[in-house]
Assembly symmetry: C2
Homo-oligomer: 132 residues x 2
């Protein structure tokens, strides 16, 4: 089946979505995108790397913030078009807003309406870093 990385079904932009899940708590921390180089570097270094679609650049998670994600396990799905990383969130902050995880909003019913409610506290000043 060739090299392991050739098994990934990259999308038309050469990217694959990668979910980072906290290895200890099981919480889904973030979803970001990887190109081939980001996944290769993630596996080689044991630290999560991504492709920024807005900045069109490779980035290492935590390169400015220090909020590195240490990778324990890499999984791929049945269609080979999604990745799950089991990670250790070294500083306990995975979101660029200074929260534990990016998924800090929960949909809640308020009478007949529904709204997104923030459930997680800000743990660090988000002004001090820009890459989460």
């Amino acid at each position: 089946m060739g090299d392991w990385i050739d098994a990934v079904a990259w999308n038309s932009d050469g990217l694959v979505p990668a979910v980072a899940q906290d290895a200890a708590s099981g919480e889904v921390l973030m979803l970001a995108w990887m190109n081939r180089e980001a996944l290769e570097r993630t596996v080689a270094s044991g630290e999560a790397h991504y492709w920024s679609r807005s900045r069109k650049a490779l980035w290492k998670k935590g390169e400015t913030s220090g909020h590195v994600l240490r990778v324990k396990e890499v999984r791929m799905d049945c269609d080979a078009d999604a990745i799950v990383l089991s990670v250790e969130s070294t500083k306990g902050i995975a979101c660029h807003t200074g929260r534990r995880r990016c998924f800090f909003r929960r949909l809640e019913a308020r009478g007949a309406r529904r709204e997104w409610v923030e459930t997680d506290p800000v743990l660090a000043d988000p002004g001090s870093f820009r890459d989460g």
Copy 2:
């Protein structure tokens, strides 16, 4: 902030990636895509609906297999461009291959090489359904 669904940052195809996580075990079961209607139906019905990019059609997870995902919680991330569903996998099978989860392949080192290794057993005959 308008209606809750308008807060979602749909991509250029009108889609958002949605991760389904088992509410009991914490396992990431699958990643699939939703359009606006799929998310509305998911929230209204309490059962996961998706948009099939290959079939270009709305589908309810389990509509032919019975492997319905009952939704306990819906979360959105900081950039509003990813969703996490906390779900009950009613039949314990979320993958169209008949496995518990779609992420049944783990990257493992074999000497100097790496390869994807299947870690999860097939629990149901995948010939009996096509929608997982």
